[in-house]
Protein backbone atom coordinates (compact mmCIF):
# COMPACT_ATOMS: atom_id res chain seq x y z
CA UNK A 1 0.00 0.00 0.00
CA UNK A 2 1.58 3.26 -0.96
CA UNK A 3 1.59 6.16 1.42
CA UNK A 4 1.30 9.64 -0.03
CA UNK A 5 1.53 12.90 1.92
CA UNK A 6 1.23 16.38 0.49
CA UNK A 7 2.51 19.36 2.47
CA UNK A 8 0.78 22.48 1.23
CA UNK A 9 -0.68 25.91 1.84
CA UNK A 10 -4.32 26.46 0.82
CA UNK A 11 -3.62 29.68 -1.05
CA UNK A 12 -0.70 28.45 -3.15
CA UNK A 13 -1.30 27.98 -6.89
CA UNK A 14 1.70 25.59 -6.94
CA UNK A 15 0.06 23.39 -4.33
CA UNK A 16 -3.28 23.45 -6.12
CA UNK A 17 -1.80 22.21 -9.37
CA UNK A 18 -0.27 19.26 -7.52
CA UNK A 19 -3.60 18.54 -5.79
CA UNK A 20 -5.38 18.58 -9.13
CA UNK A 21 -2.85 16.17 -10.58
CA UNK A 22 -3.19 13.74 -7.68
CA UNK A 23 -6.96 13.83 -8.01
CA UNK A 24 -6.79 13.44 -11.78
CA UNK A 25 -5.00 10.15 -11.16
CA UNK A 26 -7.31 9.14 -8.32
CA UNK A 27 -4.44 8.95 -5.81
CA UNK A 28 -5.33 8.75 -2.11
CA UNK A 29 -3.20 11.10 -0.07
CA UNK A 30 -2.97 12.83 3.26
CA UNK A 31 -2.94 16.61 2.99
CA UNK A 32 -1.02 18.54 5.63
CA UNK A 33 -1.56 22.28 5.79
CA UNK A 34 1.74 23.96 6.66
CA UNK A 35 1.82 27.22 8.57
CA UNK A 36 4.53 28.93 6.52
CA UNK A 37 5.30 31.36 9.37
CA UNK A 38 5.96 28.43 11.61
CA UNK A 39 7.10 25.42 9.59
CA UNK A 40 6.74 22.06 11.25
CA UNK A 41 9.90 20.06 12.09
CA UNK A 42 8.52 17.18 10.01
CA UNK A 43 8.24 19.41 6.96
CA UNK A 44 11.72 20.90 7.41
CA UNK A 45 13.17 17.43 7.85
CA UNK A 46 11.81 16.41 4.46
CA UNK A 47 12.62 19.66 2.71
CA UNK A 48 15.71 21.40 4.04
CA UNK A 49 16.83 22.89 0.70
CA UNK A 50 13.96 24.93 -0.61
CA UNK A 51 11.75 24.96 2.51
CA UNK A 52 8.80 25.70 0.22
CA UNK A 53 5.46 24.06 -0.42
CA UNK A 54 4.37 21.93 -2.12
CA UNK A 55 6.34 18.92 -0.96
CA UNK A 56 5.12 15.44 -1.88
CA UNK A 57 6.24 12.50 0.23
CA UNK A 58 5.73 9.07 -1.33
CA UNK A 59 6.53 6.09 0.88
CA UNK A 60 8.75 8.32 3.01
CA UNK A 61 10.69 9.81 0.07
CA UNK A 62 10.28 13.55 -0.46
CA UNK A 63 9.92 15.32 -3.80
CA UNK A 64 9.86 19.11 -4.21
CA UNK A 65 9.34 21.75 -6.91
CA UNK A 66 5.85 21.59 -8.33
CA UNK A 67 7.03 20.94 -11.91
CA UNK A 68 9.13 17.98 -10.72
CA UNK A 69 6.23 16.69 -8.61
CA UNK A 70 3.81 16.88 -11.56
CA UNK A 71 6.12 14.81 -13.73
CA UNK A 72 6.62 12.28 -10.93
CA UNK A 73 2.85 11.94 -10.46
CA UNK A 74 2.35 11.45 -14.20
CA UNK A 75 5.00 8.72 -14.33
CA UNK A 76 4.00 6.91 -11.18
CA UNK A 77 0.23 6.61 -11.37
CA UNK A 78 -2.14 5.44 -14.11
CA UNK A 79 -4.95 7.64 -15.31
CA UNK A 80 -5.37 10.63 -17.65
CA UNK A 81 -2.05 11.99 -18.90
CA UNK A 82 -0.71 15.29 -17.67
CA UNK A 83 2.24 15.31 -20.07
CA UNK A 84 1.83 14.35 -23.75
CA UNK A 85 3.24 10.95 -24.77
CA UNK A 86 5.20 12.01 -27.86
CA UNK A 87 8.72 13.35 -27.01
CA UNK A 88 8.37 16.40 -29.26
CA UNK A 89 4.98 17.32 -27.79
CA UNK A 90 6.42 16.79 -24.31
CA UNK A 91 9.27 19.17 -25.14
CA UNK A 92 6.76 21.77 -26.37
CA UNK A 93 4.66 21.38 -23.19
CA UNK A 94 7.72 21.83 -20.99
CA UNK A 95 8.70 24.89 -23.02
CA UNK A 96 5.27 26.52 -22.73
CA UNK A 97 4.95 25.68 -19.04
CA UNK A 98 8.23 27.50 -18.37
CA UNK A 99 7.16 30.38 -20.64
CA UNK A 100 3.88 30.79 -18.74
CA UNK A 101 5.76 30.98 -15.43
CA UNK A 102 8.72 33.14 -16.45
CA UNK A 103 7.13 35.45 -19.00
CA UNK A 104 3.54 35.74 -17.80
CA UNK A 105 2.71 34.74 -14.20
CA UNK A 106 5.90 35.99 -12.53
CA UNK A 107 5.68 39.32 -14.36
CA UNK A 108 1.96 39.77 -13.66
CA UNK A 109 2.68 39.16 -9.97
CA UNK A 110 5.59 41.60 -10.06
CA UNK A 111 3.51 44.27 -11.83
CA UNK A 112 0.82 44.07 -9.14
CA UNK A 113 3.25 44.23 -6.22
CA UNK A 114 5.59 46.96 -7.47
CA UNK A 115 5.20 50.67 -8.11
CA UNK A 116 6.39 53.43 -10.41
CA UNK A 117 8.96 52.62 -13.05
CA UNK A 118 9.39 49.02 -11.86
CA UNK A 119 5.64 48.46 -12.24
CA UNK A 120 5.56 49.98 -15.73
CA UNK A 121 8.47 47.79 -16.82
CA UNK A 122 6.93 44.59 -15.40
CA UNK A 123 3.55 45.42 -16.96
CA UNK A 124 5.10 46.03 -20.37
CA UNK A 125 7.06 42.75 -20.22
CA UNK A 126 3.96 40.88 -19.00
CA UNK A 127 1.99 42.23 -21.94
CA UNK A 128 4.64 41.00 -24.35
CA UNK A 129 4.47 37.52 -22.83
CA UNK A 130 0.68 37.52 -22.76
CA UNK A 131 0.53 38.56 -26.42
CA UNK A 132 2.50 35.45 -27.34
CA UNK A 133 0.33 33.29 -25.05
CA UNK A 134 -2.84 34.80 -26.54
CA UNK A 135 -1.76 33.48 -29.91
CA UNK A 136 -0.91 30.06 -28.51
CA UNK A 137 -4.43 29.49 -27.03
CA UNK A 138 -6.16 30.97 -30.10
CA UNK A 139 -8.04 27.98 -31.54
CA UNK A 140 -7.91 25.70 -28.54
CA UNK A 141 -10.23 25.01 -25.63
CA UNK A 142 -7.31 24.29 -23.31
CA UNK A 143 -3.54 24.53 -23.81
CA UNK A 144 -3.63 20.73 -23.65
CA UNK A 145 -6.22 20.60 -26.47
CA UNK A 146 -9.59 19.07 -25.63
CA UNK A 147 -8.43 18.16 -22.15
CA UNK A 148 -6.50 19.94 -19.44
CA UNK A 149 -2.77 19.30 -19.54
CA UNK A 150 0.48 20.45 -17.98
CA UNK A 151 0.39 23.99 -19.36
CA UNK A 152 -3.19 24.57 -18.15
CA UNK A 153 -2.22 23.42 -14.66
CA UNK A 154 0.84 25.67 -14.60
CA UNK A 155 -1.24 28.61 -15.89
CA UNK A 156 -3.72 28.24 -13.00
CA UNK A 157 -2.34 31.41 -11.40
CA UNK A 158 -3.41 33.42 -14.44
CA UNK A 159 -6.92 31.92 -14.33
CA UNK A 160 -7.86 32.54 -10.71
CA UNK A 161 -5.33 34.43 -8.60
CA UNK A 162 -4.29 37.12 -11.08
CA UNK A 163 -7.76 38.61 -11.74
CA UNK A 164 -8.37 38.82 -7.99
CA UNK A 165 -4.99 40.43 -7.26
CA UNK A 166 -5.46 42.92 -10.10
CA UNK A 167 -8.78 43.98 -8.55
CA UNK A 168 -7.31 44.22 -5.05
CA UNK A 169 -4.41 46.48 -6.09
CA UNK A 170 -6.45 48.31 -8.74
CA UNK A 171 -3.97 47.69 -11.56
CA UNK A 172 -5.12 45.65 -14.56
CA UNK A 173 -2.66 44.24 -17.07
CA UNK A 174 -4.59 41.18 -18.26
CA UNK A 175 -7.99 42.47 -19.39
CA UNK A 176 -10.68 40.83 -21.49
CA UNK A 177 -10.38 43.64 -24.04
CA UNK A 178 -6.68 43.17 -24.62
CA UNK A 179 -6.55 39.38 -24.20
CA UNK A 180 -9.93 37.86 -25.15
CA UNK A 181 -8.57 34.36 -25.88
CA UNK A 182 -6.72 34.03 -22.58
CA UNK A 183 -9.77 35.42 -20.75
CA UNK A 184 -12.00 32.83 -22.45
CA UNK A 185 -9.57 30.06 -21.50
CA UNK A 186 -9.51 31.33 -17.89
CA UNK A 187 -13.32 31.09 -17.71
CA UNK A 188 -13.34 27.57 -19.23
CA UNK A 189 -10.63 26.49 -16.82
CA UNK A 190 -12.15 27.92 -13.63
CA UNK A 191 -15.63 26.64 -14.50
CA UNK A 192 -14.50 23.17 -15.48
CA UNK A 193 -16.34 20.75 -13.19
CA UNK A 194 -13.13 18.95 -12.22
CA UNK A 195 -10.97 22.05 -11.73
CA UNK A 196 -13.48 23.97 -9.66
CA UNK A 197 -13.42 21.24 -6.98
CA UNK A 198 -9.74 21.94 -6.31
CA UNK A 199 -9.49 25.69 -6.63
CA UNK A 200 -9.63 27.81 -3.47
CA UNK A 201 -12.72 29.98 -2.85
CA UNK A 202 -12.33 33.28 -4.67
CA UNK A 203 -13.59 35.31 -1.70
CA UNK A 204 -11.11 33.61 0.63
CA UNK A 205 -8.27 34.40 -1.82
CA UNK A 206 -9.48 37.99 -2.14
CA UNK A 207 -9.41 38.49 1.64
CA UNK A 208 -5.99 36.85 1.91
CA UNK A 209 -4.53 39.05 -0.84
CA UNK A 210 -6.17 42.17 0.58
CA UNK A 211 -4.56 41.45 3.94
CA UNK A 212 -1.24 40.70 2.27
CA UNK A 213 -1.32 44.07 0.47
CA UNK A 214 -2.13 45.85 3.74
CA UNK A 215 0.49 44.08 5.86
CA UNK A 216 3.14 43.57 3.16
CA UNK A 217 3.38 39.88 4.02
CA UNK A 218 1.88 36.82 2.32
CA UNK A 219 1.70 34.78 5.51
Amino acid sequence: MSEVKLFGAWFSPYVKRVEMSLNLKGVEYEYIEEDLKNKSPLFLQYNPITKLVPALVHNGKPIFESSVILEYIDETWEGPSIFPKDPFDRAMSRFWAKFVEDKCSDLLWKACWSAGEEREKAAKEAEEGLTILENEIKDKKFFGGENIGLVDLVANYIALWNPILQDVVGFHVLTQDKFPNISKWADEFCNDSFVEKYMPEKEKVRLWLKRAVETGSLY
Binding site: I63, T76, P87, F88, R90, A91, R94, F95
Partner: protein, 217 residues
Protein backbone atom coordinates in the same frame (compact mmCIF):
# COMPACT_ATOMS: atom_id res chain seq x y z
CA UNK B 1 15.65 11.82 -39.79
CA UNK B 2 18.29 14.53 -39.87
CA UNK B 3 19.52 16.23 -36.72
CA UNK B 4 20.89 19.76 -36.69
CA UNK B 5 22.09 21.81 -33.74
CA UNK B 6 22.26 25.60 -33.73
CA UNK B 7 25.10 26.34 -31.36
CA UNK B 8 27.74 28.81 -30.19
CA UNK B 9 31.23 27.55 -29.36
CA UNK B 10 31.41 29.15 -25.89
CA UNK B 11 27.87 28.28 -24.82
CA UNK B 12 27.87 25.94 -21.81
CA UNK B 13 24.25 25.14 -22.68
CA UNK B 14 25.36 24.07 -26.14
CA UNK B 15 27.87 21.73 -24.47
CA UNK B 16 24.97 19.88 -22.85
CA UNK B 17 23.47 19.06 -26.23
CA UNK B 18 26.86 18.06 -27.70
CA UNK B 19 27.58 15.67 -24.84
CA UNK B 20 24.07 14.14 -24.84
CA UNK B 21 24.13 13.46 -28.59
CA UNK B 22 27.66 12.05 -28.33
CA UNK B 23 26.62 9.74 -25.46
CA UNK B 24 23.81 8.41 -27.67
CA UNK B 25 26.07 8.10 -30.73
CA UNK B 26 23.78 10.32 -32.79
CA UNK B 27 25.35 12.08 -35.78
CA UNK B 28 24.27 15.61 -36.42
CA UNK B 29 25.14 18.75 -38.30
CA UNK B 30 26.31 21.64 -36.14
CA UNK B 31 25.66 25.21 -37.25
CA UNK B 32 27.71 27.85 -35.50
CA UNK B 33 25.70 30.99 -34.82
CA UNK B 34 27.29 34.42 -34.83
CA UNK B 35 25.51 35.80 -31.78
CA UNK B 36 27.07 39.25 -32.11
CA UNK B 37 27.37 39.64 -35.87
CA UNK B 38 23.92 38.44 -36.87
CA UNK B 39 21.78 35.48 -35.94
CA UNK B 40 20.76 33.22 -38.79
CA UNK B 41 17.23 33.24 -40.22
CA UNK B 42 16.94 29.62 -39.16
CA UNK B 43 17.64 30.52 -35.53
CA UNK B 44 15.19 33.44 -35.59
CA UNK B 45 12.49 31.24 -37.12
CA UNK B 46 13.13 28.25 -34.85
CA UNK B 47 13.29 30.24 -31.63
CA UNK B 48 11.38 33.45 -32.30
CA UNK B 49 10.55 34.06 -28.64
CA UNK B 50 14.04 33.90 -27.14
CA UNK B 51 16.35 33.89 -30.21
CA UNK B 52 18.83 31.81 -28.18
CA UNK B 53 21.06 28.82 -28.71
CA UNK B 54 21.15 25.91 -28.45
CA UNK B 55 18.31 24.75 -30.68
CA UNK B 56 17.97 21.12 -31.74
CA UNK B 57 16.23 20.58 -35.06
CA UNK B 58 15.01 17.03 -35.49
CA UNK B 59 13.53 16.52 -38.93
CA UNK B 60 13.25 20.33 -39.03
CA UNK B 61 11.15 20.49 -35.83
CA UNK B 62 12.77 22.76 -33.22
CA UNK B 63 13.36 21.74 -29.60
CA UNK B 64 14.31 24.66 -27.36
CA UNK B 65 16.02 25.16 -23.97
CA UNK B 66 19.06 23.00 -23.27
CA UNK B 67 17.58 20.94 -20.39
CA UNK B 68 14.47 20.29 -22.48
CA UNK B 69 16.71 19.23 -25.36
CA UNK B 70 18.57 16.73 -23.19
CA UNK B 71 15.24 15.30 -21.95
CA UNK B 72 14.12 15.05 -25.59
CA UNK B 73 17.36 13.35 -26.65
CA UNK B 74 17.00 10.81 -23.82
CA UNK B 75 13.39 10.06 -24.73
CA UNK B 76 13.96 9.86 -28.48
CA UNK B 77 17.15 7.75 -28.58
CA UNK B 78 16.67 5.23 -25.80
CA UNK B 79 20.16 3.83 -25.44
CA UNK B 80 22.11 4.31 -23.24
CA UNK B 81 19.60 5.72 -20.75
CA UNK B 82 20.72 9.07 -19.35
CA UNK B 83 18.03 9.51 -16.70
CA UNK B 84 18.10 7.01 -13.79
CA UNK B 85 15.91 3.90 -13.74
CA UNK B 86 13.68 4.61 -10.74
CA UNK B 87 11.07 7.36 -10.93
CA UNK B 88 12.18 8.65 -7.55
CA UNK B 89 15.79 9.02 -8.72
CA UNK B 90 14.49 10.70 -11.88
CA UNK B 91 12.60 13.21 -9.72
CA UNK B 92 15.84 13.99 -7.89
CA UNK B 93 17.66 14.49 -11.20
CA UNK B 94 14.90 16.84 -12.34
CA UNK B 95 14.95 18.76 -9.07
CA UNK B 96 18.72 19.34 -9.23
CA UNK B 97 18.52 20.17 -12.96
CA UNK B 98 15.98 22.85 -12.11
CA UNK B 99 18.23 24.08 -9.25
CA UNK B 100 21.31 24.20 -11.50
CA UNK B 101 19.38 26.01 -14.24
CA UNK B 102 18.10 28.63 -11.81
CA UNK B 103 21.30 29.21 -9.85
CA UNK B 104 24.67 28.36 -11.39
CA UNK B 105 25.02 30.43 -14.56
CA UNK B 106 23.41 33.57 -13.08
CA UNK B 107 25.52 33.39 -9.92
CA UNK B 108 28.60 33.01 -12.11
CA UNK B 109 27.57 35.90 -14.32
CA UNK B 110 27.21 38.15 -11.29
CA UNK B 111 30.88 37.45 -10.58
CA UNK B 112 32.28 38.45 -13.97
CA UNK B 113 29.80 41.28 -14.56
CA UNK B 114 30.07 42.64 -11.02
CA UNK B 115 31.83 45.80 -9.91
CA UNK B 116 33.57 46.43 -6.59
CA UNK B 117 31.81 44.91 -3.57
CA UNK B 118 29.28 43.10 -5.79
CA UNK B 119 31.98 40.64 -6.84
CA UNK B 120 32.66 39.41 -3.30
CA UNK B 121 28.94 38.92 -2.64
CA UNK B 122 28.50 37.12 -5.98
CA UNK B 123 31.46 34.86 -5.22
CA UNK B 124 29.98 33.90 -1.83
CA UNK B 125 26.66 33.10 -3.46
CA UNK B 126 28.30 30.99 -6.16
CA UNK B 127 30.30 29.00 -3.60
CA UNK B 128 27.13 28.45 -1.57
CA UNK B 129 25.42 27.04 -4.66
CA UNK B 130 28.41 24.75 -5.33
CA UNK B 131 28.38 23.52 -1.74
CA UNK B 132 24.71 22.52 -2.05
CA UNK B 133 25.55 20.65 -5.24
CA UNK B 134 28.49 19.00 -3.53
CA UNK B 135 26.07 17.83 -0.82
CA UNK B 136 23.82 16.38 -3.51
CA UNK B 137 26.74 14.37 -4.95
CA UNK B 138 27.48 12.84 -1.56
CA UNK B 139 29.87 9.90 -1.81
CA UNK B 140 28.80 8.77 -5.24
CA UNK B 141 31.05 8.42 -8.27
CA UNK B 142 28.73 10.50 -10.40
CA UNK B 143 25.44 12.32 -9.95
CA UNK B 144 23.99 9.41 -11.89
CA UNK B 145 25.32 6.95 -9.28
CA UNK B 146 27.83 4.45 -10.64
CA UNK B 147 27.35 5.69 -14.15
CA UNK B 148 27.75 9.10 -15.77
CA UNK B 149 24.21 10.27 -16.52
CA UNK B 150 21.72 13.05 -17.09
CA UNK B 151 22.55 15.29 -14.15
CA UNK B 152 26.28 14.90 -14.76
CA UNK B 153 25.75 16.23 -18.30
CA UNK B 154 23.61 19.14 -17.04
CA UNK B 155 26.22 20.24 -14.50
CA UNK B 156 29.58 19.41 -16.11
CA UNK B 157 28.70 21.54 -19.14
CA UNK B 158 28.66 24.69 -17.04
CA UNK B 159 32.15 24.00 -15.69
CA UNK B 160 33.85 25.33 -18.84
CA UNK B 161 33.12 28.75 -17.37
CA UNK B 162 34.45 27.93 -13.89
CA UNK B 163 38.03 29.10 -14.61
CA UNK B 164 36.48 32.44 -15.66
CA UNK B 165 34.57 32.71 -12.36
CA UNK B 166 37.71 31.68 -10.44
CA UNK B 167 39.73 34.39 -12.16
CA UNK B 168 37.31 37.25 -11.51
CA UNK B 169 36.07 35.95 -8.15
CA UNK B 170 39.48 35.17 -6.71
CA UNK B 171 38.79 31.63 -5.51
CA UNK B 172 39.46 28.03 -6.48
CA UNK B 173 36.75 25.40 -6.91
CA UNK B 174 39.23 22.76 -5.74
CA UNK B 175 39.70 24.53 -2.40
CA UNK B 176 36.04 25.37 -1.79
CA UNK B 177 34.42 22.15 -3.00
CA UNK B 178 37.05 19.43 -3.44
CA UNK B 179 34.51 16.69 -4.17
CA UNK B 180 33.17 18.68 -7.11
CA UNK B 181 36.71 19.25 -8.38
CA UNK B 182 37.36 15.49 -8.17
CA UNK B 183 34.10 14.69 -9.96
CA UNK B 184 34.97 17.21 -12.69
CA UNK B 185 38.37 15.55 -13.25
CA UNK B 186 36.61 12.20 -13.69
CA UNK B 187 34.13 13.67 -16.17
CA UNK B 188 36.83 15.37 -18.24
CA UNK B 189 38.45 11.97 -18.84
CA UNK B 190 35.30 10.94 -20.69
CA UNK B 191 35.72 11.34 -24.45
CA UNK B 192 32.20 12.69 -25.03
CA UNK B 193 32.86 15.47 -22.50
CA UNK B 194 36.44 16.24 -23.54
CA UNK B 195 35.55 16.74 -27.19
CA UNK B 196 32.43 18.83 -26.42
CA UNK B 197 33.94 21.44 -24.09
CA UNK B 198 35.41 24.69 -25.39
CA UNK B 199 38.96 25.62 -24.36
CA UNK B 200 38.58 27.36 -20.99
CA UNK B 201 41.38 29.84 -21.79
CA UNK B 202 39.48 30.90 -24.91
CA UNK B 203 36.34 31.31 -22.75
CA UNK B 204 38.30 33.59 -20.38
CA UNK B 205 39.38 35.71 -23.37
CA UNK B 206 35.82 35.77 -24.67
CA UNK B 207 34.49 36.96 -21.30
CA UNK B 208 37.24 39.59 -21.16
CA UNK B 209 35.90 40.92 -24.44
CA UNK B 210 32.32 40.90 -23.11
CA UNK B 211 33.41 42.81 -20.02
CA UNK B 212 34.90 45.49 -22.26
CA UNK B 213 31.66 45.58 -24.26
CA UNK B 214 29.69 46.09 -21.04
CA UNK B 215 32.13 48.75 -19.85
CA UNK B 216 33.36 46.74 -16.88
CA UNK B 217 37.01 46.96 -17.74
Amino acid sequence: MPVKVLDFWASPFGVRVRVALAEKGVSYESQEEDLFGGKSDLLLQSNPIYEKVPVLLHDDKPVLESSNIVYYIDETWPSPKLLPASSYDRSRARFWTDFIDKKVYDAGRNIWMGKGAEVEAAKDEFIDVLKKLEGALGNREYYGGDQFGFLDIIFVSLSCWFPTYEKYGGFKVEEETPKIAAWLKKCYKRETVAKSMPDSQKVIEFVGMMRKMHGIE
